[in-house]
């Protein structure tokens, strides 16, 4: 990515930065400079503008990433990494173990269980929030009384901090004093163990995540809908297309570029959606709602001694999975003729 940026800036510099270039190369350098030297000398301004960004990205993304990958090949944990605390100095005693962490993770049922549920969770959350978001966007994409009010109300879940809404849902779901069970028992039904029964807990976390995710879908798709020219619909109506046919042949293809982007983004976010699960059920009951990222968190922050190396290996695996999914998705889109 840094390379791409550099190149584009270089090109820009090449066409526009004439005064600086003339000044630098023309007078002060009698011998022919090397390629790198020339590039630096010509586009020093562009390079110095890019440098802070590269440095910051290197520090906040590159270093942790590299360190995480490196840790995943060791057996480092809380007890054997080096540290000095006051009078205590503990030397580093961890070792390189090659691929042992990965082998252990992939041969353990825990990873595959968690992966299975993570896939179910991601697919159902994305599908439901996309469907709901699209339905609401279509409904809001016409003029009617109080449209602004509805839009505001529907965007509200996005405006509330996630932890506030999740805690509110948690109160609603409480088996003994929550509103949902009060309503159910009031209507003569049995209460439901929302967060205490594995199946219901799964349904509950999906419901909350869909609630949190719909506004984003709604806004993005509404924007997409508004960019579809109205005369297409008029023409279709003239030709006698039914509403469903218009939706299927005008709306959906018109939304293609927006929807492919939001689906991919939403897939990545949902796959890594830590707060909803952690704050609502802490991965419970037991480990029923634990997704890959909450389990990696558990390894490195909850259990004792904290297992840095296994957690790092989980992180690397998660990254690999997401990269694969993204690559496959882009490929599929390109095959369908999307220039994305």
């Amino acid at each position: 990515m840094a390379v791409e940026t550099g190149q584009s800036v270089t090109k820009a510099g090449g066409t526009q930065g004439a005064p600086g270039r003339a000044h630098r190369t023309g007078h002060k350098n009698p011998r022919t400079p090397g390629r790198l030297h020339r590039a630096l000398a010509t586009h020093w301004y562009a390079w110095s503008m890019v440098a802070p960004v590269v440095a910051v990205i290197g520090v906040i993304i590159g270093y942790p990433l590299a360190r995480g990958v490196w840790l995943s090949f060791t057996d480092a944990n809380e007890a054997n990494v080096e540290r000095t605390i006051g009078v205590n100095h503990i030397p580093a005693t961890y070792e390189h173990v090659g691929l042992a962490n990965y082998r252990a993770i992939l041969s353990d049922g825990v990873f595959w269980d968690r992966l299975g549920w993570t896939v179910v969770w991601t697919v159902s959350c994305v599908a439901l929030s996309f469907a709901l978001g699209l339905a609401l966007a279509v409904m809001l994409n016409r003029t009617f009384k109080g449209r602004t009010l509805y839009r505001t109300a529907l965007v509200l879940p996005w405006a509330v901090p996630a932890f506030v809404s999740v805690f509110t849902w948690r109160l609603l779901f409480n088996e003994r004093s929550g509103l949902f069970n009060e309503l159910l028992t009031g209507a003569g039904f049995d209460g439901i163990s929302w967060l205490n029964d594995p199946t219901w807990a799964k349904i509950s976390v999906i419901a909350v995540n869909v609630w949190v995710g719909v506004p984003f879908m709604l806004i993005a798709l509404l924007g997409g809908l508004q960019s579809i020219p109205g005369d297409l619909y008029e023409a279709a109506e003239m030709d006698g297309a039914s509403p469903w046919q218009r939706f299927r042949h005008i709306t959906l293809p018109g939304l293609r570029s927006v929807s492919s982007t939001v689906v991919l983004l939403s897939t990545i976010w949902t796959f890594n959606m830590f707060p909803v699960i952690f704050l609502l059920t802490r991965g419970g009951p037991g480990d029923a709602t634990e997704i890959l990222v909450t389990y990696a968190y558990r390894l490195s922050f909850v259990i004792s001694p904290r297992d840095y190396s296994t957690s790092a290996a989980w992180g690397v695996l998660i990254l690999l999975l997401l990269t694969l999914v993204t690559a496959a998705y882009r490929r599929a889109l390109r095959k369908q003729g999307d220039t994305w």
Binding site: E78, A79, R83, T84, I85, G86, V87, N88, I90, W158, V160, P161, A162, F163, R170, N174, E175, R176, S177, L195, N196, D197, P198, A201, N209, V212, G213, F216, L265, S266, W269, T270, M273, F274, P275, V276, T281, R282, G284, P285, G286, D287, A288, F301, V302, I303, S304, P305, R306
Partner: protein, 424 residues
Amino acid sequence: MRRGIAATALVAALAMTASACGGDDDGRNGAGGGNGELSGTVTFWDTSNEAEKATYQALAERFEKEHPKVDVKYVNVPFGEANAKFKNAAGGNSGAPDVMRTEVAWVADFASIGYLAPLDGTAALDDASDYLPQAAASTKYEGKTYAVPQVIDTLALFYNKELLKKAGVPAPASVAELKTAATRIKEKTGATGLYLRGDDPYWFLPYLYGEGGDLVDEKNKTVTIDDEPGVKAYRILKDLVDSEAAITDASDGWNNMQNAFKSGKVAMMLNGPWAIEDVKAGARFKDPANLGVAPVPAGSAGQGSPQGGWNLSVYAGSKNLDASYAFVKYMSSAKVQQETTEKLSLLPTRTSVYEVPAVAENEMVRFFKPAVDKAVERPWIAQGNALFEPVRLQMANVLAGKTSPEKAASSTGDAYRKLLKDYK
């Protein structure tokens, strides 16, 4: 969904600010000049609960009167977060408190990672022979002392006298009696018999000990949870909940339990002295005499309840060790222990305090002291605290019907063998 990321960042930022508030920048200028007078800041993380914290704060701040140049920074950290928060701060070398109220099972864990200052020969360890031996045992790791006992406790059966009287049943002495009593209570009063903590492994121990089992056998380096008593203990949990003698939750257990008991929706619960103040604030316990306390229900091998409590530990990286030692000495002094007993009915760890009439006559002390004397000591090993996580997981699986008690016990055993490399 973008929000989610923002919220995570926010939570992280808050956590960092909060731990930074632990304050190590200002005034940590070490012990004062040559005149031996202490100065500087002592940050104290207290883990006492809502009902107790005001008392602890007042006690901690009183230390400043004796040492005017010392600034005590009192921070209440909820019990559930304290362990992780301390590890984050101590491991990152920033924001860790000088002194922390540490759960008995955490001491060996923290000490093994090098987070705690050894206290042998320091001012913190004052009149050590006065401590109850079982309380002192939890402060030692590999022959050194890493904490000072502050409070000792164990679990007991708390019951609502009024409800049991209405149902015409005595306080149950065994699990079998508990079940029959629960049925009677439901019939006669509509209240549920027992609140069973399904989300906290500490509450699992009485059922395990009651069957004559234990998590591990430290002496013989053997994992024992997957023996018959472990299976039976899981089975008892399931049976109590399935037979509707008990209700349980997989999360928010503490609040749900306290609310259910205080409002009279549940007639009994297992709990420790730390809950007494909170229970007395409940609607049904306006008259504290309504609160009955009995030994934990016995299993087939007798009554058994875990020894718990709190110690005071000093962070190895504290820049103000001398003042911290003095603060620890003060907080575990006979005088302070006596006050926490009088105000909060907590059990002292000094034998001398039990001789003070006000303590000796305290009804809760009278009950809990013999219980503590008989309580089962846990293995004070570095992994002692880590033994809980596999039990938590399996309790939830058993209660949800996902796993059989047999499978749960063997899974717990497998997890222990992974954790304890040299155990059989």
